[in-house]
Symmetry: C3
Subunit: 283 residues, 3 copies
């Protein structure tokens, strides 16, 4: 297999990369049922040396967009050669395809429903394979729990060195969600939105460094629900009025709206999907 | 120690089997206190190579039946030779016995209060040992946290190769819960019940393949709270009216009642323990 | 580096001890975002053999005291040479110092805001280092997520054998919370308080064995919100009136107030911080 290379942030990534032995899990299974345990049991039955890391299992049931964002926000924190398994799968048992994605020096396993959409937006040299080889599935195979019966054993086989081509043919029409890119509605104004509200109430927008440069950010005002948020701070602790929302570059690379030691989501009464207008003062 | 063999699903299981090095935890400790950390710390202090896997810690406090069901639903997903530790233990510090169960190619460690009841129903060649040898316990030993002071060090010792007989004498009167078996009240009718409602609102009944054959299932109607649930679907995604409950064979081997992309528990307003009548049309 | 020794409970602990290869995490990140996954990814990128154990991620946002108590209650359950990473960090991005503590045969990494306060109260031969060497940090470094960009890579470097002195200079003014020690207001009376209410509703007081001897405990009556709690029981299961709160020595070494198979927190309607008076009858 020929090696390609690509720039990943500051890293030069060779594809395919050698396996890290690590498998992450990102699901909507919750943590009160037997689902996560069963998935881990299957993986470790097939590869006892695999290192399994939970990203989260608390994605809201069937919330594909939330899974896609959460994956985007952390997949590069892992060692190259890590296998990311995502199971948020409302179409389980239907004709939706199970897929395997090779991108940016990582592997991804899950349903073809958009969960890998932001990875595919982000990584130039991605390859997607439809998983069809039934010999890799658990038997008997349920129609309701492909996390255990399809994605876990496929991830385990992949971690054991089976190459992506062996699971099925390459495809070029993986399902995509709408882009996270912000729209410039007119000069000096961006139409953005809240794409995630985190545990602390920080409101993550889809404005990243490519949409708003450092120098533009200094002249930017965010408007949410008619409320003007003027300053972009460097840290949560920077002085300012209590309970006053401010903008800050967040850890996922996006502009966030925060309240110091409080919840911006509650103060602003906003949820995911809320519009954010970014006005950039002309020089 | 003589080897016995038994049929486990499609696998022939030798007892005792060699250890997998894996230890699972299933408790009602929650995840907000130090309890789970302490249990893991003790195990890893005694066996640094142990691989610890959480099944769940979110069993409702003292809910023995829920722990027993959750264990039943996933214990066979793990490698043979895995040690399953279950700590849902309202009788901690009392005279209830700590026990060690060897069954189906697995080991089980926990209190003798019924948590292993469905395993004992399921596995023919089970052996149960009362854990009495204090040399395996943490000292000083609390009266309130046997997960840390009894079950963790016993599981660690077992994972280090101490054989079951070394922890205490074999017993034959382990405490049992009522069976999950459905009752045939009259020809063509089964009296079943909801034994679990999962995170997605799927209502798991106690009807398994031994109670209802494939051909009978095709002629079956479930009645819950007076509502007739006619069809048994093959997948969640199969077409049908929205918000309409349907039956489906679930991943734990039981018939479940589900709503597509919704919660059957909420739609039907049922909880665990609700009666389900299965009417089977005569040919 | 010269070795010191100290008495730890019944163990003689040499400092520094050899690494256990284990790293624990205790945060307020919750488990529904990408935060915990990102921290683990960074650690395992830098030390693929590290064993990461979650203590909890469900500390209430910015609740330093709860993190300090939770750490105190379980740090000694882990193997000597374990690295405990605590990230409850309202001052992230400000001038608060990142620190590394070496104490009692363990290492601790986190912000200098009091989270290690009870460890420093507990361990005589503690050394504290301010973490300043930027070469150990992730680049680019965010101002909002030092768990990922500072504490994770520092813990990984430490687990790879970098000695504490290499991260920055020793300091002697680490921030301390108020002590947990109870006050004897007059002979025969202790002024104590509830320092934690756990998942089961057990109310942990700050009365430990050094404040109340075994013989005193037999003559003690606790008073909470005017209610007298007379008996100290040996186990939850010991007979007594249902729903009646009783005292019991808990697994963290403190006197707790409990209700059998119920929540003392709910029955007494108390939260953390509530006063508890301990009256000791004179002989």
């Amino acid at each position: 297999m020929p090696k390609k290379s690509q720039k990943q942030g500051d890293r030069l990534v060779d594809l395919p990369v050698s396996l890290s032995g690590q498998i992450t899990l990102l699901t909507d299974f919750g943590t009160s049922d037997y689902f996560v345990g069963a998935v881990k049991g299957v993986i470790l039955s097939l590869n006892p040396t695999a290192k399994i890391i939970d990203i989260t299992h608390d994605i809201s049931p069937q919330d594909i967009q939330a899974a896609a964002f959460t994956l985007l926000a952390c997949y590069r924190s892992f060692a190259l050669g890590t296998i990311h398994v995502v199971v948020v799968d409302p179409g389980v048992g239907s004709t939706r395809r199970p897929i395997l994605v090779q991108a940016g020096g990582y592997y991804f396993v899950g349903p073809d429903n958009g969960v890998f959409s932001y990875i595919l937006d982000n990584e130039k040299h991605a390859r997607v394979f439809q998983i069809t080889k039934k010999k890799f599935f658990q038997q008997p195979m349920s129609n309701t729990f492909h996390g255990r019966d399809v994605f876990a054993p496929v991830a385990a086989a992949l971690s054991n060195g089976v190459t992506p081509e062996n699971f099925g043919r390459e495809i070029f029409d993986a399902l995509r969600l709408g882009t996270l890119k912000v729209k410039a509605s007119r000069s000096g104004m961006l139409k953005a939105q809240i794409i995630h509200v985190d545990r602390f109430g920080n409101c993550v927008t889809n404005v990243d460094g490519s949409a708003l440069s450092e120098s533009q950010a200094k002249r930017a005002t965010l408007v949410v629900k008619g409320k003007r948020i003027g300053s972009i701070r460097k840290s949560y602790a920077e002085s300012g009025p209590a309970n006053e929302p401010f903008a800050i570059w967040g850890s996922a690379g996006f502009l966030e709206i925060s309240v110091r030691n409080g919840s911006a989501g509650q103060v602003l009464q906003v949820e995911r999907g809320e519009s954010v207008v970014v006005e950039i003062e002309t020089n």
